[in-house]
Symmetry: C2
């Protein structure tokens, strides 16, 4: 269950183009084996994707797969900074239910 | 239901100190009105917190509240870069259930 937080900082005026690419490719990502969560969010200067994968093999397959390659190619020119893709581990503190993503 | 992704880049060797501060203060954050999710994660060079708040007023109260002030003071010296706190909006594409955090 690797959790991934991908931060895509967008050039001024290009965020909607990046979101459109995610709209096109997210269904294929959701259909990939082991995809538990791939949730796209929009911030002022960025698109942030919160992901959860069943296991490392699923994440590895996604990282090497055609949907991500197509998406990456389509958004490359709209990036204001290098992609920041962090693989992170849940460290649940406090109240169960508020302390972690589902399925982690 | 504002979603927040807070990225805390930690100095080499200081990540465990930052996690310890989150361990101390996360229960108080979970008890704040409108806190739906406050999930701490550890990455190689960072601590990442994924948050969901019932409404903007809850997030504003948290941002101005004592738990965050205490946490911020305790971790300040361990940061490798300024805090990156992004308020983001769900943009659900694709398969329901995989497309968004719960309660968003």
């Amino acid at each position: 269950m690797p959790v991934v937080v991908a931060t895509i900082r967008t050039k001024p005026g290009r965020r909607e183009d990046v979101l459109a690419a995610f709209r096109r490719h997210t269904p294929a990502v959701h259909a990939e084996p082991g995809c538990l969560l791939y949730a796209v969010h929009a911030g002022e200067d960025r698109v942030t994707v919160i992901e959860n994968w069943a296991d490392q093999a699923s994440l590895d397959a996604h990282s090497a797969g055609p949907a991500l390659a197509a998406l990456g190619a389509e958004i490359a020119e709209a990036l204001a900074a290098p992609l920041d893709v962090a693989v992170v581990e849940p460290v649940p503190y406090g109240e169960p239910g508020k302390d972690r993503l589902p399925n982690t």
